[in-house]
Symmetry: C2
Subunit: 74 residues, 2 copies
């Protein structure tokens, strides 16, 4: 997701278009990326480490984006 | 998110690049959009209706994408 303080032009465009669908009481829209990743890990800690590595080194642009994640076993 | 059966070239590229981060046991990556929307609704049902309208008429391309959502009060 874009950082709180940053403009999100894509979100702003969607917000404006929602008004044409009679959804005029929407006050804010922000748009980011959703990444789903399947991988193997020995335990929860290793899984977390791998996700952090992937987020920090490849998936997120930390200058303009924040990230959060959920790890699901299965 | 792209439909299950469809190729996701963006996800495939990320998957290939993860191997350079020594994350070679990742088996699948799929990339979609994450939209966060703030709005007013009288009750949970109205909230759900509004989100469905937004998803079906504007946010998701139902031919190639699936969507799911969570509604949080606050």
């Amino acid at each position: 997701m874009p950082h709180e303080g940053l403009l999100d032009p894509q979100g702003k465009t969607v917000l404006n278009n929602l008004k044409h669908l009679h959804l005029s009481d929407v006050s804010d829209v922000r748009i980011g990326r959703h990444v789903s990743m399947q991988f193997e890990a020995a335990n929860a800690e290793e899984a977390k480490e791998k996700v952090e590595t992937a987020c920090q080194k490849l998936l997120a642009n930390l200058i303009v984006e924040t990230y959060r994640y959920e790890i699901k076993e299965g």
